[in-house]
């Protein structure tokens, strides 16, 4: 129980850091901490497989992708816009009101019975029900994925195809870099001048 509060505090703090950090790299680090804490949370909810997937896919693949793009773009002509950029005055009270409402709502929910009381999960016709002993195991998860939820699983194949083809067509074309070619020309000219001056630059 204490573990939940520690993990929860880390999750919230790192999420706030992600959103408020001045540089995108810090945001990525915040998100990394957030995802690691979430993986711990998933473990405590007996979702072992998902905890591992969270680390491998989110931390290992998605965040690295972000880092690559940040590295790629930061070497370009214009640096990123810095700081907490756009905060119209209307937003501040709106955020405060929503935050208060959210806390009130959650407090209300904590009091109310959340799970529909008269429906018992094991007795209702909800499809295959994981028994308590094996719930969350990789075997249980895989069996459900390839039987009950086969169709959604197959659709993810199409989604990944869209991502692959779309990214290749968006970013992989041979059109010259408009900004970067100018920069490249400038760098080249400076280098040439430096060489002509005697090479101390």
């Amino acid at each position: 129980m204490i573990a939940f509060w520690i993990v929860g505090a880390i999750v919230v703090a790192s999420a706030v850091w992600t959103v408020t950090a001045r540089k995108p790299v810090y945001s990525v680090v915040g998100l990394l901490i957030n995802f690691a804490a979430l993986a711990a949370l998933y473990l405590s909810l007996s979702a072992e497989f998902l905890a591992v997937i969270q680390i491998i896919v989110y931390s290992g693949a998605i965040l690295i992708l972000f880092l690559f793009v940040i590295a790629l773009l930061s070497s370009g002509v214009a640096p990123f816009a810095q700081g907490p950029n756009r905060l119209p005055r209307i937003v501040v009270p709106a955020v405060a009101i929503v935050a208060v409402a959210l806390v009130g709502l959650v407090a209300g929910i904590n009091g109310a019975a959340i799970l529909t009381p008269s429906v018992s999960p094991s007795g209702s016709p909800l499809g295959p029900v994981g028994s308590a002993g094996v719930f969350g195991s990789v075997a249980d998860f895989g069996k459900a994925l390839f039987t009950t939820h086969l169709l959604p699983f197959e659709v993810t194949a199409l989604i990944l195809m869209v991502a692959v083809i779309g990214v290749v067509m968006l970013a992989g074309d041979q059109t010259p870099y408009v900004g970067s070619s100018k920069q490249a020309a400038r760098v080249e000219r400076q280098a040439r001048e430096a060489i002509l001056r005697g090479g101390d630059r």
Binding site: L115, L150, G166, M169
Partner: protein, 478 residues
């Protein structure tokens, strides 16, 4: 050991989607193997063949209600109708790509369009939260790529804007779905209809967030700001596709939730915000049209209002209302695609047809195209000799019957406002003007553009004289 739990009926249920997926792979393969030989027409032809196959396979399921994949995908009249609408939108937009597409990228473009339609068709039959979410994301992801596929800066910026706003809406939708799952313990829409849920706070929060997500995708008024900008930035065929297929697929999900997945007695409370928002959309969309000088922006605002009309038909929750909503949606599909086909026909590399100034004096240069465009504008405005008029009369009748006369009143008011905006296009074509532009003057018009304009015209006229409304659209779930 695990036995294969799925039979032929399960696979036949998703056969239209599989046909589109196979066609997309064939397009990519042809593009890879025979790049110089395969022209724009080759890629588009393969895509059209796949679409035709999908349409036939979908039609075969019309009278056969079956819950495939443990309730993930339900076939039958309702699903078939929406699959056919998606197929029409896909065929119409692919035909436009044959005249406007970039030959270097045509393979990937057509493939993305086909995959997006897989997502839209999945949404048409989705009866489970997972299938809804994945279908929506498949459609949206393909559209983000298609919007950014052109080398214009505006297109890429609109793609970025679309991606960020639409993903945020997906986040709302997903959080709502998580809450609904928490309330019912199941991802099946059918399990959301259990009466015990009416007392559960999670159900109310979840359905609220879910509806916000859907309202964004349908571009209803507080969440509409993206539509004109994104439509303006995207290539013409993509705009045509988005304006029809996204709306149809989202409306299919909305209708299934409204008609089959709410606890008894809660529909009027859960959906009241949607009806209010639909009423505001009818006014605001039509008012927004008045100031536009770009055909895509004009049709974007028009679409905002048209969704309002369709929702008005559903407001009572009656079976007849659903049939009229489908009738109006099909008519809208034809007239909207027709308007985009005319715009494509007078466009060259720079999409001249998207700007209203290009229509000045069109009646003298292209009398038949101008006449067709006039007809589509009259139909969109809902003027008497067209399917748009008939659809609006039917919607008014059903809204009066079901106690939503105030929505009908807003529909009439919105229609009155919109007349001026549609008349602006017609006036530009017929009235002689001083600064007569000759941008798209006597460029030959591609035969496929002529064919699509003619087919849309036939579609609208046929809808007028044979007002078929599908009778077996219910039950939506089993």
């Amino acid at each position: 050991m695990i036995l294969n739990p799925f039979g032929t009926a399960d696979w036949m249920a998703i056969a239209p989607i599989v046909a589109l997926a196979i066609a997309s792979l064939l397009v990519l393969l042809a593009d890879l193997v025979a790049r110089p030989a395969i022209s724009r027409y080759g890629a588009v032809a393969i895509g059209l063949l796949g679409t035709a196959a999908a349409a036939v396979l979908a039609a075969m399921q019309y009278g056969h209600v079956y819950a495939a994949f443990f309730g993930g995908f339900v076939t039958g009249g309702f699903t078939t109708v929406f699959e056919e609408i998606v197929a029409i939108a896909l065929a119409g937009s692919l035909a436009l790509y044959a005249t406007l597409g970039d030959p270097k990228r045509i393979g990937g473009t057509v493939a993305l369009m086909l995959w997006g339609s897989c997502g839209a068709m999945l949404m048409a039959g989705a009866a489970n939260l997972m299938t809804i979410f994945l279908g929506l994301e498949l459609l949206s992801l393909a559209l983000y790529c298609l919007c950014g596929m052109v080398d214009r800066r505006g297109a890429r910026e609109s793609a970025l804007k679309y991606l960020i706003l639409s993903s945020t809406a997906s986040g709302f939708l997903l959080f709502g779905m998580a809450l609904l799952f928490g309330a019912s313990g199941s991802v099946l829409l059918a399990d959301l209809a259990r009466p015990q849920l009416a007392a559960n706070p999670l159900f109310w929060m979840g359905s609220g967030l879910f509806l916000i997500g859907l309202a964004f995708k349908m571009s209803l008024v507080p969440f509409h700001a993206w539509a004109p900008d994104v439509y303006e930035g995207a290539p013409l065929p993509v705009t045509a596709y988005m304006s029809v297929a996204t709306k149809a697929a989202t409306l299919a999900v909305f209708a299934r939730v409204l008609y089959a997945a709410l606890p008894a007695g809660t529909a009027s409370h859960v959906m009241l915000p949607v009806w209010i928002v639909a009423g505001i959309s009818m006014i605001a969309g039509n008012v927004g049209m008045l100031a536009q000088h770009d055909l895509k922006r004009l049709l974007a605002y028009s679409g905002i209002a048209q969704v309002g009309y369709i929702l008005t038909a559903m407001a009572g929750g009656s079976a007849l209302g659903l049939r009229y909503a489908i009738y109006y949606l099909v008519a809208y599909t034809f007239m909207n695609l027709g308007a985009f086909a005319v715009a494509t026909a007078i466009s060259g590399e720079h999409e001249e047809g998207a700007r209203l100034v290009s229509y000045a004096g069109l009646a003298r240069r292209r009398p038949w195209l101008a006449a067709a465009m006039t007809f589509f504008m009259l139909a969109l405005a809902g003027m008497p000799p067209t399917a748009g008029f008939l659809g609006k009369i039917l919607i008014l009748a059903t809204s009066a019957d079901s106690g939503y006369a105030w929505l009908g009143g807003l529909l009439v008011a919105g229609t009155a406002i919109s007349l001026y905006a549609y008349a602006k296009v017609v006036r530009a074509m017929y009235l002689p003007q001083s600064g007569d532009h000759h941008v798209a003057d006597l460029r030959p018009i591609a035969p496929l553009a002529w064919i699509s304009v003619t087919l849309c015209l036939i579609g609208v006229i046929a809808m007028t004289f044979y007002p078929l409304t599908p009778s077996n659209v219910l039950p939506l779930l089993r």
